[in-house]
């Protein structure tokens, strides 16, 4: 099988990996470079658990061909915290009990980060729209929506808080 070298930045760090034919980005992130933060949910773009940012845009990594991120900037939940500090979004999720089983949380966080990066003061409807591609089984969404709104008020749009 043909292997294609892919060079990209992952949360600001240079990474290089070989992408095989048809390999998706989620697989390359998890197995190729060992970033386990994006989750495999449905594998067909319906649940949003694998959401990552590519050049700042939220993307479903299970539907993105790995080789297409060559030269691009990929951001995942692993890059949200810096050192011992956590991102204001993570803090708001924690304080609002916005996670139970936690499986949707990385995707929710990245969808929310993409929103706050382009719209630091979103309305409730903006938040609902931004996470509408992400399924959550446990929370009933309400705590997640509240967490994102709270993070927006605390200045979560600043890089690394």
């Amino acid at each position: 099988m043909a292997q294609k070298p892919v060079q990209f930045t992952l949360n600001g760090e240079d990474k290089a990996a070989f992408a095989s034919d048809g390999q998706n980005l989620l697989d390359m992130l998890r197995r190729g470079v060992g970033d386990l933060s994006p989750k495999y949910g449905c594998g067909q773009g319906a649940c949003g658990a694998c959401t990552v940012l590519i050049d700042g845009e939220p993307c479903l990594s299970c539907l993105t061909l790995a080789e297409t991120v060559d030269g691009k900037d990929v951001a995942t939940t692993s890059g949200l915290s810096s050192g011992s500090g956590i991102h204001p979004l993570q803090d708001a999720f924690m304080r609002n009990f916005a996670a139970q089983c936690g499986y949707c949380t990385p995707g929710m966080l990245m969808a929310a980060k993409a929103l706050l990066d382009r719209n630091p003061q979103p309305s409730r409807d903006d938040v609902v729209e931004a996470i509408s591609g992400n399924l959550c089984r446990c929370t009933g969404y309400e705590p997640i929506i509240n967490a994102v709104l709270e993070a927006s008020r605390s200045g979560a749009s600043q890089p690394n808080g």
């Binding site: 996670a99 509408s132 446990c138 969404y141 309400e142 705590p143």
Partner: protein, 340 residues
């Protein structure tokens, strides 16, 4: 062709745990030489907060800071036996086992402290901040770490405790049929308002108002989280989700999230919840269990609301547009019932 609003009511008595063969859970508690405590359980935390609540219960009973308690649910092969995390039984069953185990461990900790301080163990108390002192004389104190180290390295004691909570199997009285299947009930009542479109058959949940009696809410935010999330799941079972849309026919069963429908963040309805706390006599610090019951009342309330809105009685979940339209057709159109 129009939209009709209706309200539906449901209330439930929810038995905590099950008792069709006894319903035991065990807990083992021990201290480490640093005076911190380990609670070993086989009860699994699925995100519902089992570890948080048992940690609180252990800390409260041991009389130590919650930070000094670690709950280990790592391995059901090596941990003490538990029937499982289901039937809303975790807080109630496991919590009681943790209390029993913690009481035994606390007694050894106080004995070790008493020997070290040359006082009577019955005269000692904990301050909940990591200290053990003589009642009425807070200055005569040692830390829980010192007590644990004295037990471990000088006295040869294990600061440990065993706990089990068992609801014994309840036999059926052959004459009367009487039995006691459950010792503890939680209760809930809910009113749901829906809007039914008589042209498309679609229903929308407009608002939910509920009250839950859950014993003491040992961790109020976790209780609220359960009730909020569980109601959403109930809504989803009422109007969206099914693995067998034409049961017993297997046709058209969903194979992925494009066909197995669940409400998204844009489909949730405002939900006002009142939590009533009436401590359960046999619950750990009065706690019952708000697990499964938080989804249960939504289903009958939605079905009743649909009947109230358009006069269609649906007895087969979920309430799909197809079922609503077939019902409307059979009735010759919408027959809104009296608003209450």
């Amino acid at each position: 062709m129009s939209k009709h609003r209706g309200k539906g009511f449901a209330c439930i008595n929810y038995p905590i745990g099950m008792n069709l063969g006894g319903d035991p859970s065990q807990a083992l508690v021990h201290s480490n030489p640093d005076g911190k405590f380990m609670v070993a359980l086989s009860s699994i935390d699925l995100g519902q907060g089992m570890k948080s609540v048992t940690r609180q219960i252990a800390a409260e009973t041991l009389g130590v800071p919650v930070e000094d308690v670690y709950v280990d649910t790592a391995d059901s092969d090596t941990g003490p036996h538990c029937m499982g995390s289901f039937a809303s039984r975790g807080t109630h069953r496991v919590g009681n086992a943790v209390i029993q185990a913690s009481q035994e461990a606390r007694a050894v900790m106080l004995e070790a402290a008493a020997e070290e301080m040359e006082v009577n163990a019955a005269d000692l108390m904990t301050d909940g901040k990591g200290n053990i002192h003589v009642k009425g004389a807070p200055s005569r104190s040692i830390t829980t770490m010192e007590a644990a180290q004295a037990a471990q390295f000088k006295q040869g004691k294990t600061v440990s405790g065993r706990g089990i909570f068992l609801i014994p199997l309840s036999d059926v009285d052959p004459d009367t049929g009487e039995m006691t299947p459950v010792s503890c009930f939680a209760h809930a009542a809910m009113i749901v308002e829906v809007e039914v479109d008589d042209e498309t058959g679609e229903i929308e949940v407009i608002e939910m108002n509920s009250s839950y009696e859950v014993g003491r809410a040992l961790n109020p935010r976790l209780v609220e989280q359960q009730l909020t999330g569980g109601a959403w799941m109930g809504m989803s079972h009422a109007a969206w989700e099914t693995t067998e849309p034409y049961y017993p026919e297997r046709d058209h069963g969903p194979v992925d999230f494009n066909h197995y429908l669940m409400p998204g963040p844009g489909d949730i309805a405002p939900h006002n919840i009142a939590i009533l706390e009436r401590p359960a006599p046999d619950g750990p610090y009065g706690g019952k269990g708000p697990g499964e019951m938080c989804a249960n009342p939504v289903l009958p309330a939605v079905v009743n609301a649909v009947f109230n809105a358009v006069g269609v009685r649906i007895d087969d979940l979920p309430v799909t547009p197809e079922k609503v339209l077939r019902g409307l057709q059979a009735n010759g159109g919408a027959q809104p019932q009296a608003r209450r």
